[in-house]
Amino acid sequence: MSLGTSSGRQATAAPFAIELRGISKSFGPVQANRDINIAVPKGTIHGIIGENGAGKSTLMSILYGFYKADAGTILINGTETAIPDSQSAIRAGIGMVFQHFKLVQNFTVLENIILGAEDGPLLNTSLARARKALTDLSREYDLDVDPDAVVEDLSVGHQQRVEILKALYRQADILILDEPTGVLTPEEADHLFRILGGLRDQGKTVILITHKLREIMETTDNVSVMRRGTMVGTVKTAETNPEQLAELMVGRKVLLQVDKDAANPGREVLRVEDLRVTTDGVERLKGVSFSIRAGEIVGIAGVAGNGQSELLEALGGIAEARGRIVMNGADLALKGLNGQSRREAGIAHVPEDRQVLGLIMDFAAWENVGFGYHNDPKYQKNAVLMDNAALRADTEAKMARFDVRPPIPTLAAKNFSGGNQQKIVVAREIERNPDLLLIGQPTRGVDIGAIEFIHKQIVALRDAGKAVLLVSVELDEIRSLSDRVLVMFDGQIMGERPPQTDERELGLLMAGMTEKS
């Protein structure tokens, strides 16, 4: 059954909080939305799922007045409403938490929250009220963040909270969240969903975009599925199941859990001893030691911002460190270095933040495939010239193998959706067939089709007798992929557990609590 089409009639009866009719939007050649119809009943949580690049964010951005639709109409509570800009959206009671946060990095939390919603021409009054309101909100939904912290110093998880608080502060009764849990720990996520439930009970309407079917099943009332810019359909959550949704989404059957047989670890590939990293005065990595053997996947679980990033950067040769890193029996330099030296040592690195480290967003896909390997002999014509043709050919091949969409090597990285950007990076690094693969948040913001694919690649690499260090805030991912799990907290390793360990116990470790305490 589908609500989307029958919306017209119902509008008179029980007006929908939101109704979009015939929305179309294209970015240059890319048709992001094609004649989209969707209706969201008041006081419900409405899920939207779809592959990367399906057009979810675009659609919501149109609803929020960030983009202008090429065609179509928007009805809020049954009345047609023009939303030329975000201001009118806010006035219409819509709040949105963007997939890519819209925060001013060097402002405090408070400054970010009041921005655009100040009380008067002078700040201190607004700041005072906001501080008060913020503490109330924090208590009500216990979303605590330090109001005076500067945003760039906050973990992504906390920045996420700031975004949500922004929307709540503006008293939105229609709340749009675009992949809010991409960067949250399971606890944080569950917490968020409790909040959303609370909002629904207050009669607010929530639209939730996510790639995680579990979240859809657990929290939403209805779910709409998008594919390649079109609306495939809307179903009642109660009347569907993950497999069906996955199929609707991708258009084929998808394996929702990794199938891999037991690892048979070989020689030690990497050994880390008392590794320490200090960034601007603060020691973020406080003496970490572990080792990885060939043919195994070691997962690092932990709440974002507990030293995982520094660990990856130290191993990847981006951050200077103290201690020892022994790769294939040889000590690696720890200072005055860069990614190059590590690649030569047989380490490949899929960084946590593809848009900041992994890709040059303005470069074409084919140039990005050479990124980090531009000195590789196989991309050189001769002593002087690079062999761009070879690079392009290689890119086409990779795009085919990794099903990157659209498969246009000359398209700039920034014009691919998040998931496809990730595929480009993963393809580049995995296909180096390295002795050790460092991979951070491999499936952040990636659709289930792609997740399935990327997970397969990681396992395949392991089975090929390579070592993998997997860092992820997704416990599911850690547990389903890893052969051994290390839990990090506050720059230290709290302990090692087998992947079967139940979430509670891992959760406790991630919170810094050992069984005894």
């Binding site: 860069n338 190059q340 690649r343 967003m361 050479g370 990124f371 980090g372 761009n388």
Partner: protein, 371 residues
């Protein structure tokens, strides 16, 4: 992402912008009681109507090509080197040394000598700012600006107190040995049997500059260094991930930038004046910035932009001499009108293409609809 066909974007839009600029300038000329038509025609004939005109246009264009290329390389590393003026000034000093103190047996050797020294001095003048930027994070815009002023002072000291021959009024070096004069277009074309005006100073450096433009293109898009420079320019942190050393790239980019700007002096000093005078650069360093920006930092675009500016310079010079065909009287157009014209051209072709693109897109959409 523009919806225009490429040719329209690359050819049509700039032409329309250019036209608009000239219309505005025509209004200005008319408003001071002169005939825009006569003015424009005399500019065009003066710059493109005769071999001599072409020769001068190309001579100026060569200057701008070199400084423009210099600026653009730094730009690709997202370093705004506004020191082209000073680097070219020092380049002039290099040329003077090469042409005054070495007994070259042949002009070609002299050319090699002056190219080497001017590039060297230009690069050296960029070295300290580059090093400070790389090591201390001292903002390149300030340091290069300061080094422009320091260069003026240094060169005027050298000319007045060191290089100036006894008893001459002119704060300039002696004339270089005639044997070191660079072959002019007349000689080069003459060699292949094409007669060309002897008057203009346009010389072999034109081809050197064109060669450099091509070399720059190869460097930026077909070599590892170019790749590294562009990547560094886009995302510095990512560059480190990729194994690109910020310090090294900063130095390379600015040294190349300064070196190429320095070469401008070979054209102006050895090719044109045959001696080093005060202010031998005459703002070409700054025009280079405009040229690089208008050429969208692409060597091909830079060549076109330099030709445009060469045309404006030479056309402007001619405008000052233009006479009314009817009365035979000299037009009374102050030279500053040409500066205004340059401004309008920079503004419309460089900063306002979008103003033209949008309507064009609509138009093309209509045409498509019709077709």
């Amino acid at each position: 992402m523009t919806k225009l066909p490429r040719w329209a974007d690359v050819v049509l839009v700039p032409l329309i912008c250019l036209a608009i600029a000239f219309v505005f300038c025509g209004i200005l000329i008319a408003s001071i009681g002169q005939s825009p038509v006569v003015a424009l025609t005399s500019m065009i004939t003066g710059a493109l109507g005769t071999q001599t005109g072409w020769g001068y246009t190309l001579f100026y264009a060569t200057n701008f090509m070199l400084t423009g290329l210099g600026v653009s390389i730094a730009f690709h590393a997202s370093l705004f080197n506004i020191g082209g003026e000073g680097q070219a000034t020092l380049g002039g000093f290099g040329v003077a040394i090469a042409c005054l103190f070495f007994p070259w047996p042949h002009w070609s050797m002299a050319l090699l000598g002056s190219i080497t020294l001017s590039a060297l001095f230009g690069a050296l003048w960029a070295l300290i700012p580059a090093w400070l930027q790389a090591k201390r994070g001292s903002h390149i815009v300030i340091t290069t600006m300061m080094f422009n002023f320091i260069a003026y002072a240094l060169i005027s000291y050298l000319l007045v107190n060191v290089l100036k021959p006894e008893g001459t009024m002119d704060p300039a070096t002696a004339r270089f040995d005639k044997a070191f004069n660079l072959p002019k277009l007349a000689d080069i074309f003459g060699a292949v049997g094409i007669p060309f005006s002897k008057a203009p100073p346009a010389n072999i450096m034109l081809f050197v500059a064109l060669g450099l433009a091509f070399a720059t293109w190869v460097l930026l898009w077909h070599t590892r260094l170019g790749y590294a420079i562009r990547a560094f320019g886009k995302q510095e942190k990512a560059a480190v991930y990729a194994g690109i050393g910020p310090v090294r790239i900063t130095l390379y980019a600015l040294l190349l930038s300064g070196g190429i700007s320095g070469l401008m002096a070979v054209n102006a000093v050895q090719g044109g004046a045959h001696r080093l005078v005060l202010n031998s650069v005459e703002g070409a360093g700054f025009i280079g910035i405009a040229v690089a920006l208008m050429g969208r930092n692409h060597p091909f675009g830079i060549v076109l932009a330099s030709l445009l500016f060469g045309f404006l310079y030479q056309g402007g010079n001619q405008l000052a001499l233009a006479t009314d065909p009817v009365t035979g009287e000299q037009l009374k157009i102050p030279r500053e009108v040409i500066i205004v014209l340059q401004a309008l051209v920079i503004l419309f072709t460089g900063a306002l293409p979008y103003m033209v693109q949008r309507p064009l897109e609509k138009l093309f959409a209509k045409l498509k609809g019709a077709a």
